[in-house]
């Protein structure tokens, strides 16, 4: 505990350095704008900012990315509630009851309750993280190559299954991402793989052009092809923002329940933010006094999931930073940011770079406070941003996306990857495939291969090493159970059936 307290104080010291505070503020504002603006989801938004953070100090860059992520999730909930276009998978659940509330004229109150839910979830999760952190230093010892292999390969399989749709909807993009991850110079032997003799492919596929293409460019094309029938946001006035006493009273329990669920899910290395908001929604449906009203604009339906996904987003920083394993697209981008800065993510991060570990966790919390303080009064401005003409946005996004892709390696080849992934992403999404598994697989592929190889070296080729320890066996059983039953995915299917062909990535 004292170790964690020291960490917290250390982290506070790091996070309150003016440059880092400014980074959190910029991130929160930029993120909310990105989340609100159509055409740029949280993922594409963070991906675009990523190359620009290379010039900053790593801590500043990571704090800013975390701020953008939080901000855009918040902005995504805003658009989900007001115009039924959720930004990322976790906001899908919020949009169900949130948009119903908007239709009933309670959209402003929904926005306020969402912001408070995020704040509550984030606050409690930071405290929880402090309790858990001493355990972290042991993880590096307990987890060897075979355990990491179970965690990464199994987690990726679960992610591909959990994102919803039929089995193939997540599996095919995941395999594509894995295949793409093997392109380039192999880490150990130095052999060129799948480069077809070109120089451009030697470095493999970079994450940024792939993400910005698959999410940003594809999204733009989706916007243009439904350009004729755009949705106008409703006006939200100041007075609408205040929830009624009854609405607040009904929110307390869901906030608490959601936070606990989210926190626990976040500690599991896996697609926790999405899983936790679905789980919180299900829990409300099972235990809430107003469970019959869920789906028709009940505050429980937004408070539980929002508290959950925020708590999960905070506590999932623990496995992300402690193990160096990304299980969300944004997590993958944060890992990429560290690697570009020459910081090796993994079990040794806490020892080698405590400033990054604690600084990022504490500043996430500060970013949460900033969001609460800034965004409730600024809701009017964010809503106004929805009225920026689409053609201006699209032309700007195309240029920014290209420059962003270019600036990763200063290579025009990456702009070509951006174009290609834009087309691939567009058609895959049209057919109902999910792109998050592709991106996460691209990032996890080399890590999975590394642990696979190291485990084989350790055992001299004996495959039983993968199920030798209790931890590996338990991990594989969990994966198997999730793959076979997938109760959460079924909930999702019911929801997506009701919500049409909404993209969940």
């Amino acid at each position: 505990m004292s170790e964690a307290l020291q960490g917290l104080i250390y982290g506070l010291g790091v996070a309150t350095v003016p440059a880092n505070l400014l980074a959190a503020l910029m991130g929160a504002l930029l993120g909310t704008a990105i989340g609100v603006l159509p055409g740029l989801g949280p993922v594409a938004g963070v991906a675009l900012i990523l190359p620009l953070t290379f010039t900053f100090d790593p801590t500043v860059g990571l704090i800013m990315m975390a701020g953008i992520y939080y901000g855009s999730l918040y902005g995504g909930s805003t658009t989900g509630i007001l115009i039924n276009i959720p930004g990322e998978a976790p906001s899908i659940v919020t949009a169900i009851d949130g948009h119903q509330m908007t239709l009933k004229g309670r959209g402003g109150a929904a926005l306020t309750l969402t912001a408070v839910a995020s704040f509550v979830g984030g606050t409690i999760a930071v405290i929880g993280v402090l309790l858990f952190s001493p355990v972290l230093s042991e993880i590096a010892i307990v987890f060897g190559p075979s355990e990491f292999f179970a965690l990464t390969a199994g987690g990726l399989l679960v992610l591909s299954r959990i994102t919803g749709g039929s089995f193939a909807s997540g599996f095919l993009p995941m395999v594509l991402g894995l295949a793409m991850s093997t392109v380039g110079v192999e880490a150990v032997s130095g052999y060129d793989r799948f480069t077809f003799g070109t120089q451009d492919l030697l470095h493999g596929f970079s994450l940024v052009p792939v993400v910005v293409g698959a999410f940003g460019v594809a999204e733009i094309l989706m916007m243009v092809d439904r350009y004729a029938n755009r949705i106008r946001p409703p006006a939200v006035g100041w007075r609408d923002l205040v929830p009624t006493r009854e609405e607040v009273n009904r929110s307390w329990l869901p906030w608490g329940r959601g936070t606990i669920i989210g926190f626990l899910f976040g500690l599991l290395p896996g697609p926790s933010a999405t899983m936790s908001s679905f789980a919180a929604y299900r829990l409300e449906k099972a235990v809430s006094k107003n469970r019959d009203k869920l789906g028709t604009g009940a505050v429980e339906g937004i408070c539980g999931p929002e508290a959950a996904n925020n708590a999960a987003a905070t506590s999932s920083l623990v496995p992300l930073l402690a193990l160096g394993l990304p299980f969300s697209t944004v997590g993958a981008l944060m890992i990429a940011a560290m690697m570009v800065q020459g910081i090796q993510p993994g079990p040794l991060l806490l020892i080698q770079h405590p400033d990054i570990f604690w600084g990022v966790i504490v500043s996430c919390y500060i970013g949460n406070i900033m969001l609460l303080v800034l965004n409730i009064p600024m809701v009017g401005i964010w809503v106004k941003m929805l009225t920026i003409p689409t053609h201006i946005l699209i032309s700007l996004i195309i240029v920014i996306a290209s420059i962003g892709a270019f600036s990763v390696h200063n290579a025009i080849f990456d702009v070509w990857v951006l174009c290609g992934m834009g087309l691939v992403g567009y058609f895959l999404r049209k057919m109902g495939f999910h792109l998050a598994p592709l991106v996460v697989a691209l990032m996890l592929g080399p890590i999975i291969e590394k642990h696979f190889r190291e485990a084989l070296y350790l055992s001299n080729g004996d495959l039983t090493i993968f199920v030798e320890s209790a931890i590996s066996v338990i991990l594989w059983i969990v994966v198997l159970v999730l793959m076979l039953t997938v109760p959460l995915a079924k909930v999702w299917q019911r929801m997506s059936a009701r919500r049409g062909t909404l993209e969940a990535d």
Partner: protein, 322 residues
């Protein structure tokens, strides 16, 4: 900062110029570039920086360190070899990048010491064999008896396939019939090879002083042996393998190189300045605090040593079938 350095350097150098006489009055009339073919912040980078700081004082010019990592250090090394031989670009070389890599890759800008000038040899870094603190072996002899009793079963983690520690182990495998240690390469750098020892996944590991120092001091690992012909001051508790009769040492050795074809006076001045730099107090102190063994060698001696290394590496490669 730069200005301050220059002023400080100016004072130191006016004395040295007096001493070396009036050779090559015009050289150097601008800043030098010192290429370090490794990442900044890595374990090798500081040697280059410590040396170039000394050289800067002696030559009265900034010696700007430039990190050009990649290709197992062959990219930055190749850049130096191919640069204009005007004395303004020099760089750090190691027995791995200069002697081993040309055997492994045939498309490099250099193949042997004929293709570049060696200015000076800097330091040696002997490889250390260490085990977890709770491992049963208390001495190198006990460990080697275990190795002999279980050929091909005792595992030693190393920081990557065919990296220097891997070759150290293969060198001893190749020359001793009764020794067959199995190396387990971890690709995430030295930190993971060390973690594998701490968690008991391998029996031992071979690594270098700077990265294991704090773990030895904390009592988590025990340095059993050192691949050296004498006691290693940084780890006096480790038994030199020479005491058990093994003659395979293969430390990591570092040199300063320059391209072929420099004007004679420039070359002479660089060699003299480099020889002074490695004997300067600050450099000696740096080497001691970072577990490096000082081994200043003249260009001729260093060239001879590199050729011997090439033969050793060729023998190891033949043994492991590369």
């Amino acid at each position: 900062m730069k200005i301050l350095n220059t002023i400080l350097a100016a004072g130191a150098v006016s004395l040295t110029t007096l001493a070396t006489g009036a050779v090559a009055q015009s050289y150097p009339d601008r800043d030098l570039t010192f290429v370090v073919p490794y990442n900044p912040g890595g374990s090798t980078d500081p040697i280059g920086r410590a040396f170039s700081a000394e050289l800067s004082k002696i030559l009265d010019r900034n010696v700007v360190v430039e990190n050009r990592p990649g290709g197992s250090a062959t990219i930055g090394t190749g850049d130096v070899v191919k640069s204009d031989p005007d004395g303004y670009m020099i760089g750090l070389g190691s027995n791995s990048s200069l002697a081993y890599q040309p055997l492994d890759k045939d498309n490099l800008a250099y193949a042997s010491p004929d293709d570049y000038e060696i200015l000076v040899k800097l330091v040696d870094l002997p490889a250390v064999l260490y085990v977890s603190a709770d491992a049963p072996w208390q001495t190198l002899e006990e460990f080697m008896n275990e190795v002999k009793a279980k050929p091909g079963e005792v595992r030693v983690s190393v920081s990557g396939l065919r990296t220097a520690p891997d070759l150290v182990v293969q060198y001893i495998n190749a020359n001793n019939e009764d020794i067959d240690i199995r190396t387990v390469p971890f690709s995430g750098g030295g930190g993971e090879a060390l973690t594998a020892v701490l968690s008991g996944r391998v029996e031992a590991s071979v690594g270098y002083g700077p990265s294991i120092r704090s773990y030895v001091d904390a009592g988590k690992i025990r340095a059993l042996g050192v691949f050296n012909d004498k006691v290693y001051e940084a780890f006096p508790e480790a038994t030199p393998v020479s005491e058990l009769g093994y003659k395979q040492y293969l430390p990591a050795s570092y040199y300063v190189i320059a391209p072929n074809g420099m004007p004679d006076d420039v070359k002479r001045k660089l060699i003299e300045a480099s020889a002074q730099a490695v004997q300067a107090g600050d450099f000696v102190k740096f080497a001691e605090t970072n577990s490096y063994q000082l081994d200043p060698k003249t260009p001729e001696e260093a060239e001879q040593e590199l050729r011997e290394y090439s033969e050793i590496f060729a023998q190891i490669l033949a043994f492991i079938g590369g």
